[in-house]
């Protein structure tokens, strides 16, 4: 299995619909500071780690929605996974649903091969192909392992066990 394509729509600084095709092997992504490189890794984490504490740097999920245009009220990311000629498309979408007492309210939608699914279906597919937030090393994680204490470091192994 490998990650064949990432599709971003209004996700952070990706204000246009963008499709990024990937190939097996070793792909490098480069570009100036602030151009949007880490936002690609955040987009993959957005789909792979719906319950993960490593979740997106933004804090509130609605901060993931592209802010450059006024009337944009949703963001969407699809991952296309290919496994021996079979294709699985995992999509996550967040849509603003402001309430009088909570302007940051939102709805979260999950899709498997473009059919609405529940969070638990989603998590099931991910764990059966052993894909998780552990597949992503975010910017700064390398130094975090050094700076964390011995006990939090042991907890990394607890989570795996």
């Amino acid at each position: 299995m490998y990650l064949r394509e990432v599709q971003l729509e209004n996700f952070k600084s990706f204000g246009k619909k963008v499709r990024i095709p990937f190939l097996p092997g070793f792909t490098a992504i480069t570009g100036p500071n602030g151009s949007g490189k880490s936002n690609i890794s955040d987009a993959i984490l957005f789909v792979l780690g719906p319950k993960s504490p490593k979740m997106i740097r933004a804090g509130r999920l609605t901060d993931l929605i592209y802010k450059g245009k006024k009337d944009v009220n949703y963001c969407k990311v699809s991952l296309v996974l290919e496994d021996e000629n079979e294709e699985i498309v995992l999509t996550r979408k967040v849509k603003r649903a402001p309430l009088p007492d909570n302007p940051d309210n939102y709805y979260s939608y999950f899709y498997i091969n473009n059919k609405a699914a529940s969070l638990s279906d989603f998590v099931h597919i991910l764990s059966s192909s052993n894909i998780s937030a552990n597949s992503i090393v975010q910017q700064g994680d390398v130094t975090a392992i050094v700076e964390m204490g011995d006990v939090p470091r042991r907890r990394i192994l607890d989570d795996i066990a």
Binding site: G15, T27, N134, I136
Partner: protein, 160 residues
């Protein structure tokens, strides 16, 4: 629960000690439990001995030496619980040329049967990749600049 922990610990410990020596081309490292009988009451200590030096705890090493030990630890966990692909975001930041090359070599070798996507500003890392993608931003919107070669990238960013 304790048994499950021991299985993971023993496997990651063995991986870590092998991968550290392979990654640095020498030296040795070890994972140590603070409290072997009751692991949940103590922490996990990383010790490393870069080539030609004494063994020390992680916090006595230099910035680059710490990064290499952490990377070996990350690779050791990934080897125990393999995933079909990995995303690495600027893991080569604190490394000098030789160490950055060692890390890029390890990624390249493992990319034969596992997909690796590495975000990097380092020339030495971009040199080893099968494909290089550029990202640029205009008026606050990011776009991807497809398959570029190293000389094109020099324009986007003076590659480290």
């Amino acid at each position: 629960k304790k048994d499950a922990f021991y299985t993971v610990y023993e496997a990651v410990k063995e991986n870590f000690e092998l991968i550290y020596t392979e990654l640095l081309g020498g030296g040795e490292a070890e994972l140590v439990l603070e409290n072997k009988e009751n692991p949940f009451e103590g922490g996990l200590i990383i010790k490393a001995r870069p080539k030609g030096k004494r063994i020390m705890r992680l916090n006595a090493l230099s910035g680059g030496e710490k990064s290499m030990a952490s990377l070996a630890f990350i690779f050791a966990i990934q080897a125990y619980d393999p995933s079909p692909f990995y995303i690495l975001d600027e893991v080569d930041m604190f490394l000098d040329g030789k160490n950055a090359e060692k890390v890029a070599d390890m990624i390249k070798e493992r990319s034969r049967n596992t997909q690796f996507i590495a975000i990097s500003l380092r020339r030495v890392t971009l040199n080893k990749a099968d494909h290089i993608y550029g990202v640029t931003m205009q008026e606050g919107i990011s776009t991807i600049v497809g398959n570029v070669n190293l000389s094109q990238v020099e324009e986007i960013v003076e590659v480290k």
